[in-house]
C-alpha cells in the first residue's frame, strides 16, 4: 500500500536535533520560553536557506581545501546581517538570544547541511532541502521549548519580546496553579539536559515500537 504521508515520520526521521543530535549548542540554552525557541528556529532556517542558496551557486568555483573557510564566511555574513537587523528592530529579542545569536554560525546543523548537501546539488534542490531541515529543526526546538516552559513556570508565552514589533502580547497559563506547581529547575541548565534526555528516550522508544510492529 502507498506509504501514507506520515507527518510524524517526516518530522522525526532525519530531524537534525532528535536523531542526529546536531545543533545542541544553541538549542538548550535559550529554549526557556516558547517564543525564544520559535525565534531561534526561524533565524536558523533563514540563515540556512540563504547560505545554501549562495553555496550551491558558488560551490563549483571553489577549490577543495578552501571549502570550509569560504562557507564559514558566507554563513557568518548572513548571521551578521541578521544580528544587525534584530538589533535595529527589536532590542528585547536581541537581548533574549544574547550570545547565542552569533553562535549560529558555528551551529553544526548549518555547516553540516551546507557541506553535505548544498555544495553538491543544484539551487532548487538545496532550497527545498534547507527548508525541510529548517522546519524540522524549528519543530523540534519549539517542542522542547514549550515542554520546558510549561513545566518551568506553567505558562506559554507566544509573543512577548516581539511585542515591540508586532504590538500585541500573547501569553497564557496552562494549568490552574492550584493543581500544578511549576518548579524553575526546568529553566536551569540541568533541567534542560534532563528534559531533552528523557524526550529523546521517549521518542526512541516510540520509533522502536513503530519499527517492531
Amino acid at each position: 500500500m502507498k506509504k501514507k504521508f506520515n507527518l510524524f515520520n517526516w518530522l522525526f526521521d532525519g530531524n537534525p536535533l532528535f536523531s542526529m543530535l546536531l545543533g545542541m549548542c544553541t538549542t538548550l540554552a535559550i529554549t526557556t520560553t516558547f517564543e525564544n525557541g520559535f525565534v531561534m528556529g526561524l533565524s536558523v532556517t533563514v540563515v540556512l536557506l540563504f547560505s545554501s542558496i549562495i553555496v550551491s551557486l558558488i560551490s563549483k568555483y571553489i577549490s577543495d581545501e578552501l571549502r570550509i573557510p569560504s562557507y564559514i564566511i558566507v554563513i557568518a555574513t548572513f548571521v551578521t546581517v541578521l544580528e544587525v537587523l534584530l538589533r535595529k528592530y527589536s532590542i528585547p529579542v536581541y537581548e533574549a538570544l544574547g550570545v547565542y545569536l552569533p553562535l549560529i554560525t558555528v551551529n553544526c546543523i548549518i555547516m553540516g547541511r551546507v557541506l553535505s548537501f548544498a555544495s553538491k546539488n543544484k539551487v532548487g534542490a538545496s532550497i527545498l532541502d534547507s527548508l525541510k531541515c529548517g522546519i524540522q529543526y524549528t519543530f523540534a526546538i519549539v517542542l522542547l521549548a514549550s515542554i520546558r516552559e510549561i513545566l518551568g513556570n506553567n505558562s506559554l508565552t507566544i509573543i512577548d519580546n516581539l511585542s515591540g514589533l508586532l504590538g500585541f502580547k500573547l501569553s497564557f497559563n496552562i494549568f490552574p496553579s492550584s493543581i500544578f506547581v511549576p518548579s524553575n529547575i526546568f529553566l536551569t541548565s540541568a533541567g534542560a539536559f534532563i528534559t531533552l534526555g528523557i524526550l529523546l528516550g521517549i521518542l526512541n522508544s516510540i520509533r522502536n515500537r513503530g519499527d517492531s510492529k
Binding site: 506547581v181 518548579s183 524553575n184 529547575i185 536551569t188 540541568a190 534532563i194 528516550g201
Partner: protein, 471 residues
C-alpha cells in the same frame, strides 16, 4: 547416574547480597526509631496533633512505598518481565533502599507529596534508567534529594518546620554557623544548641538520619564487623574533615570543640557511614577507597566554608561518585608497590593541609555578607544589583532615585530562603517606608536572618548612593 556439572568452586561462602542488605536494614532500624521518638517526644510537649508528630514515620513509609511501586511498574512495563521472573527480579533488586535513604536525608519539613516525588525520581532517574541495581553511577537517594530540593526548594522551606520553630529560633546548627561567617566563640556556635552531648544524642534540629550520632557510631561498628560496608571510606572521610577544621581552629585559635562540632553537626556522620559507602557507587580497590574518602573530606569542607549552602555532604558525595572509576584506576595501578602508595598518600595529605589554609585565607577576608554586584544607571535612577548572604544567597535589584529607595525586587534566592513569611508580612514595603531608620524596624520571627539580610541590603544601597552620587 548422571551428575550436575559446573566449573566454579563447589563450596561457596554463606554470605550473599540479600543477607548483606538485610544487615544494612538492621543497622538502620534503631536510627529510624530514634528519629520517630525524637519527634513524638518534642510534640508531646507542644500538644500538636499526633498525625503531625508521626510525620517521620509517614515520610519513611511513603518513600519506601513509592520506590517499590516505581520499580515494580518499571520492570513490569518497560523491562516487560513476565509474572514468573518479575518476582525473582524484585527479590534481587532491593527497591526499598533508594526510598528509605531519601527519607532519611531530606529535611524534616518537606511535604509528603514531595517526599514521594523524590522517591519516584530517586528510583527512576537515580537507579533504573542507568540499568537497575548495581549499574547506577550516582547514589540514587542523593540524586532524588538533590533534584527535589533544587526543584521545589522554596516549597520545602516555605512550610514551617515544626521542630525548628519550637526550641531554637533559627535553622540547623550549620546554617547558624554560616551567619557568623564560620568563625565564632563556643557560645555563639555550639552553645546555642546546648552542649556537645546534645549533638551526640541528637536533640538538635536536622534531617531524620543525621540526628543521633551515637546510634550511627554503633551502626558503623556493626556494619564493619559484619563486612557490609567499606570501612576505609568513612574513616578517612571524617578524619580529613577533622584535620582541615582543626587547622582552621588552630589558625583562628578556637578550641578543640570546633572540629568536633563540624563532625557532629549536619549530615556528615550519616552521609559518611551510609551514603558514601553505598557499595555500587564507591571505589572497589582498597587504595581507591582511601583516596576517595580523603577527596570527599576536602570537598565537604570546601563546600561548607566557601559556598552559601550550609550542607556540603550531599553535593560532595555526588561529585565524587563521578570520579569513582578514576580512583579505581589509581588503586589498581599502585596496589603492588608500597612507595607508589606513599606518593599518592602524601599528595593527598598535602592537598588536605593546603585546603585548610586556603579556607582559612578566604575566611578572614572580611566579605561582609552584603555585596554590591554592579550598578546600572537607567534614565534618572540607579539600579543596584545586590547579593546578601543571609540564609543562602539572595540577589535582588534595588532601584534608588535621588536618595530614596523606590523598589526592591528579588532576582533569585537559594533554596533555603523562606519567602512565604516575608511576603505574608509585606515586609519589603515596610523596609521601603521606614528606610530612614531601618535599625528600629524589627525582623519577622522565624525568618530573622532573611529579613536582616534585606535590611542590610537596603542600608548598603542608601549608604553607597550617599557617598557616590549625592555630591
Amino acid at each position: 547416574m548422571k551428575f550436575k556439572v559446573d566449573n566454579g568452586p563447589h563450596v561457596k561462602d554463606s554470605d550473599n547480597t540479600s543477607r548483606i542488605m538485610n544487615r544494612l536494614m538492621i543497622a538502620l532500624i534503631p536510627i529510624i526509631c530514634f528519629s520517630v521518638y525524637k519527634n513524638v517526644s518534642i510534640i508531646y510537649r507542644m500538644d500538636i496533633s499526633i498525625l503531625e508528630a508521626l510525620k517521620p514515620l509517614f515520610m519513611i513509609l511513603i518513600a519506601i512505598f513509592t520506590s517499590v511501586i516505581t520499580e515494580f511498574l518499571y520492570s513490569l512495563f518497560i523491562l516487560k518481565k513476565n509474572k514468573k521472573d518479575l518476582k525473582e527480579y524484585m527479590k534481587h533488586s532491593y527497591a526499598i533502599f533508594p526510598g528509605l535513604f531519601l527519607a532519611l536525608v531530606i529535611p524534616l519539613n518537606t511535604p509528603l507529596l514531595l517526599v514521594s516525588l523524590g522517591a519516584f525520581i530517586a528510583t527512576l532517574i537515580g537507579k533504573m534508567i542507568f540499568g537497575g541495581f548495581g549499574h547506577n553511577i550516582f547514589n540514587p537517594a542523593l540524586t532524588g534529594a538533590l533534584l527535589v530540593t533544587t526543584a521545589y526548594g522554596s516549597f520545602i522551606s516555605g512550610t514551617s518546620n515544626l521542630f525548628e520553630l519550637d526550641t531554637i529560633g533559627s535553622a540547623t546548627p550549620l546554617a547558624n554557623l554560616a551567619n557568623f561567617n564560620y568563625v565564632g566563640t563556643f557560645e555563639q556556635i555550639v552553645g546555642k544548641f546546648g552542649s556537645i552531648f546534645n549533638y551526640i544524642f541528637g536533640t538538635i534540629p536536622g534531617t531524620l538520619g543525621e540526628t543521633n550520632k551515637f546510634l550511627i557510631l554503633i551502626a558503623f561498628i556493626f556494619l564493619v564487623a559484619t563486612k557490609v560496608i567499606k570501612w576505609r571510606i568513612p574513616v578517612f572521610y571524617i578524619s580529613t574533615v577533622f584535620v582541615i577544621t582543626y587547622i582552621v581552629s588552630l589558625t583562628n585559635d578556637i578550641g578543640i570543640w570546633y572540629p568536633l562540632f563540624h563532625i557532629l553537626s549536619g549530615g556528615l556522620l550519616f552521609g559518611a557511614v551510609f551514603m558514601a559507602t553505598d557499595p555500587v557507587t564507591s571505589p572497589i580497590t582498597p587504595m581507591g577507597q582511601v583516596l576517595y574518602g580523603i577527596g570527599l573530606g576536602i570537598l565537604t569542607t570546601i563546600l561548607r566554608f566557601l559556598t552559601p549552602y550550609p550542607e556540603g555532604v550531599l553535593t560532595s558525595i555526588l561529585f565524587m561518585n563521578m570520579t569513582v572509576s578514576l580512583f579505581d584506576k589509581i588503586g589498581l595501578k599502585i596496589r603492588n608497590s608500597f612507595n607508589k602508595k606513599l606518593i599518592y598518600i602524601t599528595i593527598f595529605i598535602l592537598l588536605v593541609i593546603s585546603t585548610g589554609f586556603i579556607i582559612n585565607k578566604n575566611l578572614n577576608k572580611d566579605d561582609s555578607s552584603v555585596k554590591i554586584l554592579n550598578v546600572i544607571k537607567s534614565e534618572d535612577s540607579y539600579v543596584y544589583e545586590m547579593s546578601s548572604k543571609a540564609w543562602g544567597v539572595i540577589t535582588a535589584n534595588v532601584t534608588i532615585k535621588d536618595g530614596v529607595v523606590i523598589s526592591v525586587d528579588i532576582v533569585n534566592s537559594s533554596s533555603e530562603t523562606k519567602w512565604s513569611h516575608i511576603v505574608s508580612n509585606d515586609y519589603i514595603n515596610k523596609i521601603i517606608n521606614g528606610q530612614d531608620n531601618l535599625d528600629s524596624l524589627d525582623a519577622i520571627s522565624g525568618v530573622t536572618i532573611t529579613s536582616d539580610g534585606l535590611k542590610e541590603m537596603v542600608k548598603k544601597v542608601i549608604e553607597d548612593y550617599g557617598d557616590k552620587y549625592e555630591r
